[in-house]
């Protein structure tokens, strides 16, 4: 199993992840770092999630084995 995680100590709220895959990532109103709202559920969402990993200017997103 793999899982996407955001390192909230590294996150600088660029918002690129929530733009790339809004179903998985969000910048909530009452926090200034990105959250994983749910895990990707299909190939498209995984592809976008990997794109978010690549595009994160803070290198704050990782896909880990669980």
């Amino acid at each position: 199993m793999r899982e996407v995680v955001v390192d909230q100590k590294k996150c600088l709220a660029y918002g690129v992840c929530m733009m790339t895959e809004p179903a998985v990532f969000d910048l909530p109103d009452d926090d200034d770092v990105a959250h994983v709202v749910r895990q990707p559920e299909n190939d498209d969402e995984w592809a976008n999630t990997i794109e978010a990993v690549v595009q994160c200017p803070a290198a704050a997103i990782a896909i880990v084995d669980v």
Partner: protein, 402 residues
Amino acid sequence: MTAASVTVVGASLAGLATAEGLRRQGFDGVIRVVGEEPWLPYDRPPLSKDVLKTGPAEHPPYLRSEQAFADLQVEWVLGRRCIALNAGDRTLSLDDGSVLPFHLLVVATGARPRRLAPLDGVGGVHVLRSWDDDVALAGDVAHASTVVVVGGGFIGCEVASSLRHRGIDVTIVEPFPTLLFGPLGAEIGERLNRMHSDRGVQLVLGATVSGYRGGNRVEAVVLEDGRELAADVVVLGLGAVPNTEWLQDSGIACDNGVLCDATGRTEVDGVYAVGDVARPESSLYGRRVRVEHWTSASMQGAAVAMTLLDPQARGELVRVPYFWSDQYDTRLNYVGLHERTDRVLVRGSDGDAWQAAWERDGVITAAVASGDPRLLPAMRKALGQPVETHWPIERSRATRVS
């Protein structure tokens, strides 16, 4: 075809992303990355921001941890510049006289700052692109009370903002009537003018620098109309030129960048280009597009890695462009690609929080927001949509941490 080895020329973000993309897809052959600078890949955006605010550290802000670099298993050839690509025998000539054979090759040599001939080689005059540039500039501004920034583009605006943070007197000289006039146009430029004026930056608009006063070291810049602006330090922010000269006799066509197809393929078999130096075709925009954004370098490296391992993959280099710019306490987020002839729509107060979009034939081509990253998903969704239904841009939903 399974590649035995991949050589990347350029050890910055696009080169690193290429290597990472290859490994992510299970490539276990040799990856060799040649870099002109002596450093492992580091992050350039902080150079005009945090580093200038606080002064330099011992090493550049590396893009990855020591462990992550080690895990990549890349053969780094650093501090060496490629001076020629010999397509016939598939070798690279390096500036130390050595010759490297290659199998598949990715050109990721980036761009370099444009200079100003009358100020060439004058002490106190800086450009900002590399860690060495940054160390030199940070060292020089430590003793400066007055800095003139030549060029009101992104680098100029960010440098001005960082230097104001240190209480230094800053003047920006810009030939157009507003800051960021080229990339964002006059209406948004006016807002940037106000933002910088409010923080005490002197703006000298509609003016160009023609020379300087001083001996070996600058004391003032001289404008075309004869005016003089005192300067302990001068920073040039005049845009960047793609590093293609070394490819002159390679058979690879270059014109404001390496000309390549949508996947980065050049005219020489097995040679690709990515990042700031590449000028690929784009089916999305129906023309060639050279993009200098951070996320483009990163995505293009990942995309070419797929093509290298599977030429049928047809992964296009050009995706919807995105960039950000941090000035004072505000971040600008831009997504899309507008033409200068597109009509701009602006909404928001005169303060630092506002949004804008561009439209052509009633369709939104790009959007920019100041101070609100939460608008990004809606901004991206609005691209290609009618103005009547998607302007102004509203956040799709409000969420809370549960």
